[in-house]
Amino acid sequence: MAVNRYRLLGLLAAISALVLVLWLSLAMGSKDVDFAALWPAITAYDGSPEHVIIHDLRLPRTVTGVVVGIALGLSGALIQALTRNPLADPGILGVNAGAGFFVVLGVALFGVTSIQEYIWFAFAGAVVATVAVYFIGSRGRGGATPLRLTLAGVALGAVLGGISSGITLLRPAVFDSMRSWSAGTLSNRTWEIFTTVAPFILVGTVIALAMARPLNAMAMGDDTARSLGANIVRTRAWTIVSVTLLCGAATAAAGPIGFVGLMVPHVARWIVGPDQRWILAYTLVLSPVLLLVSDILGRLILRPGEMQVGIITAFVGAPVLIWLIRRRKVSSL
């Protein structure tokens, strides 16, 4: 019980950090606004330039950042638990490559140009890639074993990535749109984008949290899990559904953002140990913190310009990761 109290206190600390980061994300940027003006801008919107910045630009960007962060972190935690591979992240199931491939097709064949149109191509690509990986990986009697899923993801990701880069290198215009998409950014996110992806992320999150207990049983190996009464096939299938929804929606909303899904679950595991319920809870809170901090830094570094959040996440996360592996015994799965 004492241990659980510490875990709970830690979670509360993480939540307060998230709240603080939320306010900072509204206040800081190319034009700093007064903290006092934040609340009125949301509750009593009067159309002044300051209120427009907060209400119409930074608020949708911040909430999109929160849901995208949650989606990336949770999907990473689920994939790591499912494949029992500590190095797994959304990229390893071919999600980013699938989304990128469809966006390339969209740009090259249908002349898609705006973010609003990218979303649907990216989402469709992510879904198609994950489903394909699952089917390639789960044929035969053994079902979707961790190794086969990983291999299938790497293989499909490589093929799609190869074809994508073939197309982009042949057509400079496509290359130009893809290089800005592939950096991953939260700038210019509107309420429309948020409302488009939020329902998918909500459903994905609910399924993810429901999978915590069965995944705990699965961590002990398939045979033990079966004897503990877990339904392995069903757990895997639902986990993949959740991962597809989360990754697809996140990638559609912000482009491929690396490292959040890889790193946050590791940090959570180092703090709370192997219980998936706690890992998922911590991941849920810490991922948006990492993403928003990175986004704020990206806004401040090149003022008045911006650096894409996908570029910052690695620079914020990697030193932490290196510090952690040097400091502690590495947690295995």
Partner: protein, 361 residues
């Protein structure tokens, strides 16, 4: 249980003597080699196929040359346009494809054998990402030529590998810590690369991306010689240490009992493996997947238990020459970087591998 013990034996029992081998002994036993027949045949066939493809590749292109003319040009019996096209323009590229393919096959075999993992590769320590960073700095910030880019890639790759090693070092190296440090450093460098590509002009970014995919375009004789020299030196080192790989694969204890000095042999082999990759990257950019796929394909064709370096080299050469033909001619006259083709072929190979495993169950 059979009880009719009195029944006379009908046929002589078939005794399995294992795989057929040929032994070579020369100079009073100082040179002694036992070669597996199937491995020998497979390697010979692969080499022959690679050379045949190379001849075909020499004839293909905007100015096509018939195979007999290619052969006579190679033998130095032709002059003028045919000699110019075949020997001066196309031969360096095809030769380099053969050499680099072989180098990647060997490097992949070394790493897969050392890590006892079919997915083992020098990429684990972030070499290729670092090499790309180095090359990008030279291409975008300094605007250097081929050799400057090669030097940049070499420096970038080696510095990255050293950094990862340092970050992971804490009273010795632990495999898992090395991998995580490699991922962390690679992720940071990858985002630097993305940023540089974003900030560059479209034209420069495209040429950098072509380099990043791995390309054999614009290869001339000038670039072949350094590769030949470096490759020869590395192979000489490898001929001394290569046979220990098989012993290392038996596990640390068995290898030690058989008289292998573990850490020293591992370090030399890993350095040679990284050096081979560095050579390929410097010459043609980070060409993906050949070092991953070649040893595994060769292992399956020779039906042996472990990855062999010589068959892997033959397979690598064959794969790269074949991929380069596809890359040059698929969308002719536009030439794809060969790395785009090897990635696609490698991915298809992995899918095939999975499908085969399903069938076996």
């Amino acid at each position: 249980m059979r009880t009719d013990l009195a029944t006379p034996v009908q046929r002589a029992p078939v005794i399995n003597f294992g795989r057929r081998t040929v032994a070579i002994r020369r100079f009073g036993g100082r040179v002694s080699l036992r070669v597996d027949v199937r491995t020998l045949v497979v390697t010979a066939v692969l080499l022959a196929a690679a050379l045949a493809l190379a001849v075909v590749a020499l004839g293909l292109g905007e100015f096509s040359v018939a195979v007999p003319d290619v052969v006579s040009a190679l033998l130095g019996q032709s002059s003028g346009a045919v000699n110019m096209v075949v020997v001066e323009w196309r031969l360096p590229r095809v030769l380099l494809a053969l050499l680099l393919g072989a180098a990647m096959g060997v490097s992949g075999a070394i790493f897969q054998s050392l890590t006892r993992n079919a997915l083992g590769s020098p990429d684990v320590i972030g070499f290729n990402t670092g090499a790309y960073t180095g090359a990008l700095v030279v291409i975008l910030l300094m605007g250097g030529g081929y050799f400057a880019v090669s030097a940049g890639a070499l420096v970038g790759g080696l510095v990255t590998a050293a950094l990862v090693y340092l970050f992971a070092y804490k009273k010795g190296i632990q495999g898992f810590r090395l991998i995580i440090a490699g991922i962390a450093v690679s992720a940071m460098l990858a985002s630097v690369n993305t940023f540089m590509i974003l900030k560059a002009s479209l034209e420069q970014a495209m040429s950098a991306a072509v380099w990043g995919a791995g390309s054999l375009n614009k290869i001339t004789w000038e670039q072949v010689l350094p590769v030949v020299v470096v490759f020869a030196v590395l192979l000489a080192v490898l001929s001394l240490y290569g046979r220990r790989l098989g012993l290392l694969e038996m596990g640390d204890d068995a290898a030690r009992a058989l008289g292998v000095r573990l850490e020293g042999s591992r370090l030399v082999l890993a350095v040679v493996g990284v050096a081979l990759t560095a050579m390929v990257t410097a010459a043609a950019g980070p060409i993906a997947f050949v070092s991953l796929a070649a040893p595994q394909l060769a292992r399956r064709l020779t039906r042996s238990a472990s990855v062999g370096m010589v068959p892997s080299a033959a397979m690598g050469a064959f794969l790269l020459v074949a991929s380069d033909i596809v890359a040059q001619n698929l969308f002719a006259p536009i030439q794809l970087p060969v790395g785009v083709v090897t990635v696609s072929i490698g991915g298809c190979y992995l899918v095939w591998l999975l499908a085969r495993e399903v069938k076996r169950q």
